[in-house]
């Protein structure tokens, strides 16, 4: 079946459908990871986005039950150069096609994804419409144009948990957890929860709208601010919550959690031209001068110049010198823009979880 991806700038790409059929709109972004498509698909931070993989062969190793970052695929649409109908891996259970069909995600393959990526790099990410129903490119372009886009939209509401729950991990080691952590769920990735558990944390995941009072009432040793999709600005209720928590509990934020913390501390955020999405972003840890290869997925960024004096810059991106990590000078609070939990991506920054437990120790 044919499928068309149309962009708000008027360009369109004709390809073949895989996964589900239908029509969807979203912000079209590209990810440069060569492995980990299942983790990408299931990362709630991609809510509202149609994701293009720059690596051309996708689906090679199928999909399995374990490599998920949330209950199921979250992307609005999926774009690849060549979908591999045959999958080969000892753990694979489903083809990518059936996985996407099952979760009602539309895929398009056979388009020049490099041309698409170059367009996004030059002109910035843009809204798009992916359809298997309407084969009129002009109409699809108008639909893409008509879509409101990510800025100012509170996407967290679409991915946060409806109610609080305790994270259960069957394969976790048996030693008694040492720390009680409340995780504010803005669209949390499972691997963060797995990492926290492995570092001795008992994690209570709470909805994004949970108030500071409720959190403090649980008497946690520390509060974790999760990753999540979209623009941090409209998530003002969470910013308020974080402001109240500052100075009261150790805080650790990742990605959207980092941006919300930045805003809570008085900083500003802005939208990057085409974001950072991939598993090869070099980040320098200024304290040690060591470089970490990091997994990233963000379109917004905390403005390094907007930070108050109470905040110290700990990590920067070596590609474009943007802010990657901060630490409070006074309180046990730190956050990073990138994904130390990896999944997909390198494990270079997993030390940050130990850092969080050390903070909770003291």
């Amino acid at each position: 079946m044919k499928a068309i991806l149309a962009l708000a700038d008027g360009t369109f790409f004709e390809g073949d459908q895989f996964g589900a059929t239908g029509e969807t709109v979203g912000e079209v972004v590209f990810n440069t990871s060569m492995t980990g498509y299942q983790e990408v698909l299931t990362d709630p931070s991609y809510k509202g986005q149609i994701v293009t993989m720059t690596y051309p062969l996708i689906g090679n190793y199928g999909c399995n039950e374990a490599d998920v970052e949330s209950i199921g695929p979250q992307v609005e649409g999926f774009v690849v150069r060549e979908y591999s109908a045959y999958y080969s891996n000892w753990r694979s259970k489903w083809s990518l096609d059936s996985y996407l069909a099952e979760h009602d995600i539309i895929g398009i393959q056979g388009i020049d994804t490099r041309a698409l990526t170059r367009r996004l790099r030059v002109h910035g990410v843009m809204n798009g419409c992916l359809s298997t129903e309407d084969m009129n490119p002009e109409r699809l372009v108008s639909k893409a144009k008509a879509w409101h886009g990510l800025v100012g939209w509170d996407l967290v509401q679409r991915v946060t948990c409806p109610s609080s729950y305790a994270w259960q991990q069957p394969e976790a080691n048996n030693s008694r957890p040492k720390y009680r952590v409340v995780a504010l769920d803005f669209g949390i990735k499972y691997n963060i929860l797995r990492q926290l558990t492995e570092h001795g944390c008992e994690v209570q995941v709470v909805p994004a709208s949970t108030s500071a009072e409720e959190i403090l009432a649980a008497e946690p040793d520390g509060v974790f601010l999760s990753n999540g999709p979209g623009d941090p600005m409209p998530v003002d209720y969470a910013i308020q919550t974080i402001q109240t928590l500052i100075g009261k509990k150790p805080l650790f934020g990742i990605c959207l959690g980092h941006q919300l913390l930045g805003l809570a501390l008085g900083g500003k955020t802005f939208k990057l031209k085409f974001g950072h999405r991939g598993a090869n972003q070099p980040v320098k840890y200024l304290e040690t001068d060591r470089v970490e290869i990091t997994s990233q997925n963000h379109g917004f960024c905390v403005d390094i110049d907007s930070l108050p004096n109470s905040v110290e810059v700990t990590h920067i991106n070596l590609n474009d010198d943007t802010l990657e990590g901060i630490e409070h000078r006074e309180y046990p609070i730190f956050s990073v823009q990138y994904h130390p939990e990896a999944s997909p991506g390198p494990h270079d920054a997993s030390y940050l979880f130990s850092r969080f437990t050390e903070m909770m120790d003291s």
Partner: protein, 1085 residues
């Protein structure tokens, strides 16, 4: 860290002659290192015995030693140059082993030389199997069950624990030499015995077989601040059990999930830290059980490697260059990424295409040997191809091999019974990929093929897609549509267009499509162009388009966007030589690189086209634009039409571009330099005879035949022996001396395949003639001789396999003058513009022309280094329109020193093959020895080949009857020099009559001991054995084969033996000294 200032002078060791397992990739890495470190202001001392390397060009190092890469010679260089540091990790296993030897013997301490990049303990830990295993266990990584054996007994005890099949890996050998897989005790004992002999420390690793597991490699880099990055991941299509050098490999990894890949990445980082490689690149190999995902570590190379060269070309990340900068103190984040310019080198490249590397073998030259692919590498070269799908890259790679395939073609053995397929699939062999195609085409299931091959079903499925699509292309609907469109191009071709587009995206060549539709490839080309199905070019940019690329490094694919923006500068396109093979390798790449450098300096925009990832020519730094593409007419035309250069150079890349010349010219491509028609005149026997007749030169009497029936009377008339060969081949492919009619018929039946479109040439073989090679350059008016090389062995041995001396050491002035005059006349007659090589034979004071090649020859780099003039650079500039007078090269140079070129052979890789030298070239590379004394220069060359001439001991002499006279003087001189003689009965008697005692050995089969026993016991130090020429006497061959296996110098011609004896004499008289090229060149001015 900023760069170190306590170091001023750095010694870099190259890898020596091209051999199997160690080819141009180390010239690429060494050249990058020299450039990078010179740029940083360090003084570079370089040692490499291989004259065909770019790194030994005198401007790449401050002091360039073309000397043997042995510990004693390098020690002399250290004593003379006193470098503060030695960089051991860029010259392959050779440089690493010599560095270890120098460190262990205390030479480095004595002269206060620091090993940079990797220290001795790290090298030992990575290279010593026991230490490596211990280190892996320490960091919790699994390795295959294994043990170390130093004797056959120990090995037998081990295999009881490990079981069969068992892998045998000799320690400290290159490319797995002497290794193998034993399935039974008999094989095992045999391999253990030979493996122990080959390991310089008599050590073997006996390992549990993980045959059938998936094989992966990671290219890892570490800097002084302990930052570690993975540059490239590689998946072997062939499963464990086939050496990675003999495997089809793919980058990046295709069949691991991120979870599994990250586990491997973590292991690799742990390994490089535990082994303690300070800075630089390492290659780490893993095996993965396809059923459980269990990962085990196979091995680590603590240095740049063939895989790192591949990884550099596959990603655009220059590993060797960065490794060199890290070694002098920089950290990864302090070095910019050349490709993006705006981002640092401290990152992990991500690619948005698929890279396929396919090896090229040369078994046709080593008949009689077992052609099974095992853990010991046997390929002589490789091609790399880039595509947007595996299918496209695979098919491009197969046509890049230049072995007659145009993609995943149908196996010509279509009549192969189905019942034979399983064995062809399960025993790894060079044509296995085509057997897979055959199996798929006949409907064998992927599961069944997997069971035989253990090739991951993902790859098999992709091949099946090619087969299925080929079937769709052949189906009536497609045929009808194509036929109709060919007939009436003006009709709407939407269906045809879609078909052709997909064919292109699956990597089908025009030629393959032409074969399907039974039309010439040109017809397909015209048809698809008419429909707008064109090649588009994409950039290799390290970052999957995330950043803008500064470096124009391109590959073609069929897609919607073309990234190439041709400039309006004056451009010249250089066609490279493709994958290395015997007869066409680094020498031609050297010429292509020189053309690029010279023309760039003259202000042209240079465009390089090549498919060989090992080379300097495919470094994005070498030319202004690099196209990594197959060297076929279609692919070259795509680039030509895109770039529209004003000239294309075809005479530097060996036979590969020459074979395209006429087709390119017919397609309107402007070929610069000697015209394709004139080149053809030199190749066509009839036309060439007319040329010679015109200028009054002689050829050996000859004839031309297209069949066995035609050949017999011609040969009879000429008189046996005759030399037979197909026309239009390089490296003497299928060239033979034939002694009788029976052998002639045998030859005609086997050789016609070698080049079906061209007849067989039959020449009278001039016995005992002196062969001379002449390289010259001409601008169309003036011809200047670059060098006259006198072969040491008589005519009849391929010039690539002969030792030769420049300037001539036995020719008189009159002969030299004649050679020059003839060469000028030939250049004029053939309208040569550029380089020309002529081979002459001198017999009874008559000069015969054997062959003229109006193109760059294999000896151009050697001559250039001998005379201190970059001939290829001059030739490129001449082709672009300059005159030799303008370039200031009008006088011929006769150096006041001697340069000797000696070949290096791969016989130890091909046990059972014919080791005799003849007109078919078998050497993989060459070395150069330079000295003011010709005998010492010869001694150096021998040493650089790995033969250390003995200064005393026992010499075995056995010569054919006609050499008995000549041997007397040689034997006499040997006894005078203190050698003891060993001889068989006949020779002993002759020696005794001339006053020389000898120890008697039995002829083979007549009693014991024979010379075989002496060789096995290492009780003989030198062998002089001239063969009778009778192919039915296998004993002679066995002596040669055994001597080669046991590293005993053997000379099989009288002139060779005489040169060796003189060399020994020179060595006895005085110590070898070392002198850099730069000092020799002082002598020229």
């Amino acid at each position: 860290m900023p760069k170190r200032t306590d170091i001023k002078k750095i010694l870099i060791i190259g890898s020596g002659a091209i051999i199997i397992g160690q080819a141009c990739e180390f010239d690429y890495s060494g050249t990058q290192a020299c450039k990078a470190l010179k740029e940083e202001g360090y003084e570079i001392t370089l040692v490499n015995s291989n004259p065909a390397t770019i790194m030994t060009d005198p401007d790449f190092a401050d002091r360039t030693y073309i000397e043997p890469i042995t510990a004693d010679t390098v020690a002399l260089i250290i004593a003379k140059e006193r470098p503060q540091a030695l960089l051991p990790t860029l010259g392959g296993q050779t440089a690493l082993n010599v560095s270890v030897e120098l460190a262990e013997s205390g030479v480095l301490d004595e002269y206060e030389v620091e090993l940079i990049g990797a220290k001795l303990p790290a090298i030992q830990k990575a290279e010593d199997r026991a230490l490596f295993k211990e280190a892996m266990t320490k960091i919790g990584l699994a390795v295959p069950k294994s043990g170390i054996a130093h004797s056959v007994q120990e090995a037998l005890a081990l295999v009881e624990k490990i079981g069969f099949p068992a892998i045998i890996r000799p320690a400290f050998t290159l490319g797995g030499t002497g290794g193998g897989i034993a399935y039974n005790i008999e094989e095992y004992e045999k391999m253990v015995t030979s493996g122990l002999a080959l390991s310089p420390i008599n050590e073997l690793l006996i390992e549990e077989s993980v045959i059938g597991w998936k094989e992966f490699e990671l290219e890892v880099m570490r800097d002084g601040a302990d930052n570690v990055v993975i540059i490239c991941s590689i998946e072997n299509v062939d499963a464990m059990g086939v050496h990675t050098g003999d495997s089809i490999t793919v980058a990046p990894i295709q069949t691991l999930t991120d979870k599994e890949y990250q586990l491997m990445r973590d292991s690799a980082i742990k390994i490089i830290r535990e082994i303690g490689v300070d800075t630089g690149g390492s290659n780490i190999q893993f095996a993965v059980d396809p059923k459980t995902g269990k990962q085990v570590v196979i091995e680590m190379n603590p240095r740049v490697s063939r895989s790192s060269a591949l990884a550099s070309k596959a990603t655009g990340f220059p590993i060797a260059k960065i490794a060199a900068k890290l070694a002098v103190g920089y950290n990864l984040d302090e070095i910019p990424n050349d490709i993006t310019a705006e981002t640092p080198a401290c990152f992990e490249p991500t690619i948005d295409y698929v890279v396929v590397k396919i090896p090229r073998w040369a078994f046709e030259k080593f008949q009689g040997t077992d052609e099974t692919l095992t853990t010991q590498m046997k390929s002589v070269g490789e091609a790399m191809a880039i595509g947007r799908t595996f299918k496209e890259a695979l098919q491009k790679g197969l046509r890049s091999l230049e072995t007659g395939w145009h993609g995943l073609d149908n196996h010509p053995l279509e009549e192969l019974p189905f019942s034979e397929l399983p064995s062809k699939l399960s025993v790894p062999n060079v044509k296995r990929i085509f057997y897979i195609k055959a199996a798929l085409a006949r409907g064998m299931s992927i599961e069944e093929i997997y069971a035989y091959t253990h090739i991951d079903p993902f790859f098999l499925y992709n091949m099946k897609e090619i087969v299925d699509f080929e079937n769709a292309l052949s189906a009536p609907a497609a045929r009808h549509s194509i036929d109709q469109h060919l007939e009436k191009p003006e009709t709407d071709g939407a269906f045809t267009k879609k078909l052709l587009q997909q064919a292109k995206q699956f990597g089908f060549s025009d030629r393959q499509l032409g074969d399907i539709y039974d039309v010439p490839e040109e017809t397909i080309r015209e048809c698809r162009k008419g429909l707008g199905v064109n090649a588009t070019f994409k950039t290799v940019d390290t970052c999957a388009a995330e950043f803008e690329a500064e470096t124009p490094y391109y590959y073609s694919t069929c897609s919607s966007e073309d990234e190439v923006r041709p400039s309006d500068k004056s451009k010249i396109m250089i066609l490279g030589g493709g994958p290395n093979r015997i007869g066409q390798g680094i020498e031609f790449d050297y010429c292509c690189v020189h053309a690029a450098l010279a023309l760039k300096a003259d202000g042209y925009e240079t465009i390089m086209v090549n498919s060989n990832p090992e080379t300097v020519s495919t470094d994005y730094d070498t030319s202004d634009r690099l196209y990594f593409e197959p060297l076929t007419c279609e692919d070259v035309l795509n680039i030509y039409h895109k770039e529209k250069p004003f000239g294309v150079i075809v005479q530097f890349g060996g036979q590969t571009p020459l074979n395209l010349a006429i087709a390119l010219k017919n397609a309107g491509v402007p070929i610069i330099g000697t015209s394709p028609e004139d080149i053809a005149r030199s190749e066509d026997r009839r036309l060439f005879k007319a040329v010679l007749d015109d200028i009054g030169l002689m050829q050996p009497p000859n004839g031309t035949a297209t069949s066995s029936e035609e050949a017999a009377p011609i040969a009879a008339a000429l008189g046996y022996p005759v030399i037979v060969r197909p026309s239009y081949v390089l490296g003497g492919r299928a060239m033979q001396i034939v002694y009788d009619e029976e052998l002639l018929h045998e030859y005609m039946h086997s050789a016609v395949q070698a080049s079906p479109e061209h007849p067989i040439l039959i020449d009278k073989y001039l016995e005992e003639a002196i062969e001379v090679d002449v390289d010259a350059i001409s601008d169309g008016n003036l011809t200047v001789i670059g060098g006259i090389m006198e072969h040491i062995e008589e005519a009849g041995i391929h010039s690539g396999d002969s030792d030769c001396v420049l300037p001539p050491y036995t020719l008189v002035d009159e002969q030299i003058e004649n050679l020059k005059t003839f060469t000028y006349a030939l250049a004029k007659a053939l309208n040569v513009c550029g380089l020309m090589n002529v081979q002459y034979a001198i017999k009874n004071d008559e000069i015969y022309v054997l062959e003229v090649n109006p193109r760059a020859s294999r000896t151009i780099p050697f001559v250039s280094k001998a005379i201190g003039v970059p001939l290829a650079k001059l030739a490129a500039r001449v082709m672009a329109g300059k005159t030799l007078a303008e370039l200031g090269f009008t006088n011929e140079i006769e150096p006041a020193y001697f340069s000797v070129k000696a070949p290096v052979f791969p016989f130890n890789r091909f046990p059972g093959s014919n080791t005799r030298l003849g007109p078919e070239m078998k050497s993989t590379g060459e070395v150069m020895g330079i000295d003011t004394d010709v005998s010492r220069a010869f001694a150096k060359a021998q040493k650089a080949c790995g033969y250390t001439l003995p200064l005393g001991g026992k010499v075995f002499i056995s010569v054919r009857n006609k050499d008995k006279r000549a041997i007397i003087f040689i034997a006499k001189k040997l006894t005078d020099m203190g050698f003891e003689l060993i001889a068989t009965h006949g020779t002993a008697k002759v020696l005794l009559r001339n006053g020389m005692e000898s120890e008697l050995v039995f002829s083979i089969g007549k009693g014991r001991p024979t010379i075989h026993d002496y060789i096995k016991n290492h009780a003989v130090d030198l062998i002089i054995n001239t063969p009778t020429g009778d192919l039915h006497r296998p004993n002679e061959l066995l002596i040669r084969e055994m001597a080669i296996a046991h590293d005993i110098p053997i000379f099989s011609t009288i002139p060779g033996a005489a040169a060796a004896v003189n060399a020994i004499d020179a060595l006895q008289r005085g110590e070898i000294t070392v002198t850099p090229l730069q000092d020799y060149f002082q002598l020229l001015s």
